[in-house]
């Protein structure tokens, strides 16, 4: 749709796959709308053999992830960094409406496809976008560490998420733009405290340097994969512990 937002490969960045939505296969909506291979719990797809989507990416399971947060916190940039490994310095436009891109990750030998939805952050668009919350398996909630208001609004976002998203949605709080050390106004401790209060995993990210970006999506993918495919003998995957162990700090003196 936008030539600016797809600086890299076209085929790979567009939604062209056979990933079903929860509306088609999941617990919400009209269950039997699509003759999918299997339509198990939580709206995910478990094909008998790896599926091949139009864009040519094989996968075993697929999930829907949404990026939410105030306007300008870096949702599109985070997505592009994860998807293409690039930073959109001054070449991207404000996201109007809603759009999605796919990326397949290898999680412990399983190909997990994430269908990642990028949304407009401006408040008035929420009435358009929250209709999509209920189908999301995971939500990445972003604020900008250089913008106090975007952090203060996180509580409002959480209220909105609790109202519209599924009860067992995987949620993660991300403080983005930590590369801008000079302009930082939200301390890491503030983010940690808020995340603890709501019991959600937290990390600081930088779409510019790539800090923790892959980790955020990988952690989500791991959690979703374990939830859907866990064998009885397998130990439970602990998202909080995983994030704590793997996360990198933004400064030199941080672990």
């Amino acid at each position: 749709m936008s030539r600016k937002k797809t600086p890299k490969s076209k085929a790979g960045s567009t939604p062209a796959s056979s990933l079903p939505t929860a509306k088609e296969n999941g617990p919400v909506g009209s269950g039997a709308a699509l003759p999918a291979p299997k339509a198990p719990r939580n709206g995910l797809l478990l094909p008998g053999r790896p599926s091949l989507s139009c864009s040519g990416d094989f996968y075993d399971v697929a999930f829907k992830v949404m990026l939410v947060g105030d306007s300008g916190v870096g949702k599109t940039c985070l997505l592009v960094r994860f998807k293409d490994g690039a930073f959109l310095a001054g070449t991207f436009i404000s996201t109007v409406g809603i759009d999605f891109r796919n990326k397949v990750l290898n999680v412990d030998g399983v190909k997990v496809k994430l269908q990642i939805w990028d949304t407009a952050g401006q408040e008035r668009f929420r009435s358009v976008t929250h209709a999509y919350y209920r189908d999301a398996h995971a939500l990445l909630l972003l604020y900008d560490v250089t913008n106090r208001a975007s952090f203060d609004n996180i509580r409002a976002w959480l209220t909105e998420i609790h109202e519209y998203a599924q009860k067992d949605v995987v949620l993660m709080l991300l403080g983005n733009k930590v590369d801008s050390t000079q302009e930082r106004v939200v301390k890491r401790e503030d983010g940690e405290k808020l995340a603890k209060e709501y019991g959600v995993p937290f990390m600081e990210t930088s779409a510019k340097t790539g800090l923790n970006v892959d980790l955020a999506f990988k952690a989500i993918a791991k959690e979703l994969k374990h939830r859907s495919m866990k064998l009885p003998s397998e130990p439970k995957f602990k998202l909080h512990d995983y994030v704590k162990r793997e996360v990198r700090g933004s400064g030199c003196c941080r672990p």
């Binding site: 600016k4 939604p15 796959s17 990933l19 436009i93 404000s94 809603i98 401006q122 668009f125």
Partner: protein
């Protein structure tokens, strides 16, 4: 994408290799279009040149007719002849003038001298200003006139127009998408004040309540499009129903951005010519034409993401680049579309939305 008036391309020789032709076309066509947009990396120079050699003749012809029509006049009245002329495209050198006249923006500007300046000098709503600032670097970064190094830099004028408008129309304030509208208006009029009044014509009068916080008019029109597709292209409506694809997902940007960044620049401007003259009905004509023209391809989609992808594809390719033919199609392809039908559908869709909450 859009024609370059600087270097009319010579007609293409035949019998040359495809690559050679593309290479030659690439050398003849400037990398930056007449509006200041960088052509995308995958821009198809050869087929563009092909199209443009035909379109140039049309442009020249229309320019002569418009010059005659406007000769010695300092205004233009709405009548059947002008309507026909507008549908065939307003030459860029007359665009600002014609848009101002037929939209009523000129009348508003004349009746309110100094009003725009006064808005800029007045007290500022910090929250509004902040939300506008967030989008300044994110409006047309691929346009050289919006770069901070440009002189004059349209980012500053864009900021002024949006701040003034947000204080003028407090019920709307600033909604993302308006930055693109105002940006286009500045590129065409090269005047802050005219852009302000044209933005007011669009947001305040021509588009029914698209940008206010509840976005009720936008949601309504998306549903109206759904109803029109049900009537005119039922197979596509069925497909959307079967896969539970909400219209808002595939068309919200069409409505909010009035096809900016969705269709080629020249095509968007041709659509806007008619939008200023004939009103918001044109948006439905364009949307229906895009869908109808590509219905066979859309119907190949077998799942939700494929449908979304198809709706992206319908806005690409020669069908939309060839703006003159495209604009003829929008008045024939969707069939009749009366104002009464639209009004009725808007009323029923709005009521349905209000019931749903």
């Amino acid at each position: 994408m859009e024609p370059s008036r600087r270097s009319p391309p010579p007609s293409m020789e035949t019998g040359r290799g495809e690559d050679e032709a593309s290479q030659a076309a690439r050398e003849r066509i400037p990398r930056i279009d007449p509006y200041g947009f960088e052509r995308p990396a995958d821009f198809d120079y050869a087929s563009y040149e092909d199209f443009f050699s035909t379109y140039l003749r049309i442009l020249t012809n229309r320019a002569i007719k418009w010059s005659k029509l406007l000769k010695g006049k300092n205004s233009v009245q709405k009548n059947m002849k002008v309507k026909r002329y507008v549908r065939k495209g307003v030459p860029n050198e007359h665009r600002a003038f014609v848009w101002m006249a037929i939209s009523g923006a000129q009348a508003q500007m004349d009746q309110n001298p100094g009003y725009y300046r006064k808005l800029l000098e007045g007290e500022r709503n910090d929250k509004l200003v902040e939300s506008i600032k967030t989008d300044m670097n994110r409006t047309f970064p691929d346009n050289v006139k919006f770069r901070q190094t440009a002189d004059p830099c349209l980012q500053h004028t864009l900021y002024n127009v949006l701040v003034a408008y947000g204080h003028h129309n407090r019920g709307v304030g600033y909604c993302q998408g308006m930055n693109f509208l105002a940006g286009y208006l500045l590129l065409i009029t090269k005047s802050e004040e005219q852009s302000f009044w044209l933005l007011d014509a669009l947001v305040g009068r021509i588009l029914p309540d698209y940008y206010s916080p509840a976005m009720m008019g936008l949601k309504t029109d998306q549903e109206v499009l759904g109803e029109l597709v049900k009537m005119k292209i039922p197979s596509v409506a069925n497909l959307m129903d079967r896969h539970n694809v909400m219209w808002t997902l595939v068309v919200s940007r069409w409505f909010i951005c009035l096809f900016i960044d969705i269709l080629p620049v020249e095509t968007v401007l041709r659509i806007w010519d008619c939008l200023f003259y004939e009103g918001s009905k044109i948006i439905f004509r364009v949307a229906l034409t895009l869908i109808k023209q590509h219905q066979a391809s859309i119907l190949e989609a077998t799942n939700f993401p494929d449908i979304c992808e198809k709706f992206k594809q319908v806005t690409k390719g020669p069908f939309v680049t060839e703006c003159h033919t495209f604009m003829q199609k929008i008045f024939t392809e969707p069939g009749s579309l009366s104002t009464a039908t639209i009004t009725k559908l808007r009323k029923s869709c709005r009521e349905k939305l209000l019931v749903q909450g």
